[in-house]
């Protein structure tokens, strides 16, 4: 039997649009081990975000199962924390209140003063210690996502689901946030790593962060390939991009993605 934290089996999702049903995901199966960081990557429209909304519990699949710790998933759950691309934070709460509100949802036993202390701690970790009293509208997009990550981590859920959290951020801040997430997730070895499912269309982001990468093919979304990322942790982007293997691995991933697109538009296979 499997010891995976998350087990996805034969997952099929149908969307109904204009009275026509179409197949968004078809027979998707893979597992995510405890403490593992798995990225789901694919061209837009491949159903990767749909997959995540099933894991979040916001969308019910047409077929197949998702199990967490061996129990079938039904709806949202307190063991899962989520970071969306947009609007993870409530605009009417200050940054700190947002984090405290999150903590309150998953950690009932924690008192108000302790909540405030934890919120401050995580604000400091993401570099927002001076912005706790600000509203999300007063922060840049990058700062809002920092706060959303701080909330997700402060909630201390076993699983983190992240749906393209950095794709709306400018290139420079995206790099900074990737490094920040990497550092916070890898930790200093004293704490257990969280199980993460991370959806992205950014190849470099996926390689930098993940233990494994699930490549999806579109129409309908199916698993094309699952790759182990062969780089030691702790990682840093600067060291990683220097190595020859990085370039090779990146090209392999690229060809997997582009061949899929080339097939769909009827072009030749891309040779890289």
């Amino acid at each position: 039997m499997t010891t995976n934290k998350i087990e996805i089996k034969d997952l099929t999702v149908n969307y109904i649009e204009n009275k026509r049903s179409f197949n968004a995901l078809h027979d998707v199966s893979f597992g995510v081990g405890k403490g593992e960081f798995v990225s789901v990557i694919g061209a837009s429209g491949c159903g990767k975000s749909t997959l995540l909304s099933v894991l979040e519990g916001l969308y019910a699949p047409a077929g197949g199962t998702v199990q967490i710790d061996g129990k079938e998933l039904h709806g949202t759950g307190k063991e899962r924390g989520v970071v969306f691309q947009h609007y993870s934070l409530f605009p009417w709460m200050t940054t700190k209140k947002n984090i405290e509100f999150g903590i309150k949802q998953t950690r009932h036993d924690i008192k108000r003063t302790e909540r405030s202390r934890i919120a401050d701690e995580y604000l400091t970790k993401v570099g927002l210690s001076e912005f706790g009293g600000k509203y999300p509208s007063q922060l840049s997009g990058g700062m809002q996502q920092r706060a959303a990550i701080a909330r997700a981590l402060a909630m201390d859920t076993e699983i983190l689901l992240m749906d393209e959290p950095f794709s709306a951020i400018d290139a420079k801040n995206r790099v900074i946030l990737q490094e920040l997430l990497l550092k916070l997730w890898e930790g200093d070895g004293t704490t257990e790593r969280k199980t993460v499912v991370f959806v992205t269309h950014d190849i470099d982001e996926a390689i930098l962060l993940s233990d494994r990468i699930v490549v999806l093919t579109a129409h309908p979304g199916t698993v094309n390939e699952i790759l182990n990322v062969p780089f030691e942790r702790p990682r840093s982007r600067a060291d990683l991009v220097k190595t020859e293997e990085y370039g090779k691995f990146r090209n392999k991933l690229l060809s997997l993605l582009y061949n899929d697109i080339a097939e769909r538009i009827g072009g030749d296979e891309v040779v890289l």
Partner: protein, 306 residues
């Protein structure tokens, strides 16, 4: 800002012109109470000067002195047309000093009437908001009832609340309770409709964010949906408030024993047009004051918006 920009404005010249006009001999046969007008103008100018010294933003300062300028022009034209040259019928058109004088004499009576009107408004308004917001949240949040209720609300809010007055009089024991009842109806429907349209229009992403946090049902309604719909709720409240003032003053003119509408109606029945005009102006100030405070509250509660 230079001293010149701050203190040398046309408004202050208009102030001096207004005072000079008061030196002209009065031609009106009635009492003109010029000294009341002069005292008022000096007091007002003093406030404007204090304001000019304190205000930091240039646009706000310009707004203040421009408003002051309009007030001086109005008072100057008014006193010329009445007290000084008596162009207008001095029974129907009292001199400005007379109105100010009347306000000072009647101030206790006026305060009483304002209080009575405001208590009625606040009662009806607060009851209506307290009932409409939770109901709107619950009914709007339930997708099925939400859509049906929108149509029902459209029907009921299309009935002008003033036509409830005769029925209210038959239904309720006192005229005060009728006024509260009508203000309640006038506020309830727009606030209820505003709340529901707010709930139905909440961004799905915000609701998803709350769902994945596993918030409880009361938290979903009052900590997520309520603040997310607040702007629409305030739209309804503002509509309710302005209709309430129209209704209340109309109702007070029908049958009341106190209130601002009563004050105006009572004295105009006696041909006391000084008091009638005093009453009109006071109502204007009260409505502006209440609206101003309500806007302050709204801006405070929506301070998180950009």
């Amino acid at each position: 800002m230079t001293l010149k920009k701050r203190y040398l404005r046309i408004a202050h010249i208009l102030f001096i012109i207004l005072l000079l006009i008061q030196l002209l001999p009065a031609q009106s046969t009635k009492a003109t109470h010029t000294s009341s007008l002069v005292t008022f103008a000096i007091g007002f100018e003093a406030l404007v000067l204090v304001g000019s010294a304190l205000i930091k933003k240039e646009e706000s300062l310009a707004l203040l002195v421009d408003i002051a300028g309009f007030v001086y022009i109005l008072l100057a034209a008014w006193s010329l047309a009445t007290a000084k040259y008596n162009y207008l019928n001095d029974l129907l058109f009292p001199a400005p000093g007379k109105v100010i004088h009347q306000f000072v004499i009647d101030r206790d009576k006026i305060t009483e009437n304002i209080k009575s009107s405001l208590i009625t408004i606040v009662k009806g308004f607060v009851f209506a908001v307290a009932a409409a917001v939770p109901l709107g949240l619950i009914i709007g949040w339930n997708a099925r009832t939400g859509n049906a209720a929108t149509y029902i609300t459209k029907f009921f809010s299309s009935i002008p609340p003033i036509v409830y007055i005769p029925y209210g009089i038959a239904l309720l024991p006192t005229f005060k309770s009728v006024s509260v009842f009508v203000i309640f109806l006038a506020t309830f429907w727009p606030v209820f409709a505003g709340t529901m349209s707010g709930v139905l229009g909440v961004d799905k992403k915000i609701i998803d964010s709350a769902k994945v946090l596993n918030v409880s049902k009361p938290e979903m309604l009052f900590k997520v949906i309520l603040p997310a719909s607040l702007q629409q709720i305030f739209l309804g409240c503002n509509q309710g408030l302005s209709v309430s003032f129209i209704l209340l003053t109309s109702a007070e003119m029908i049958n009341a024993k106190d209130g601002m509408g009563y004050y105006v109606k009572y004295y105009s029945d006696f041909g006391d047009y000084t008091r009638t005009i005093t009453g009109l102006l006071v109502i204007g100030f009260v409505v502006i004051g209440v609206t101003f405070l309500f806007n302050k509250l709204q801006n405070y509660l929506l301070r998180w918006k950009r």
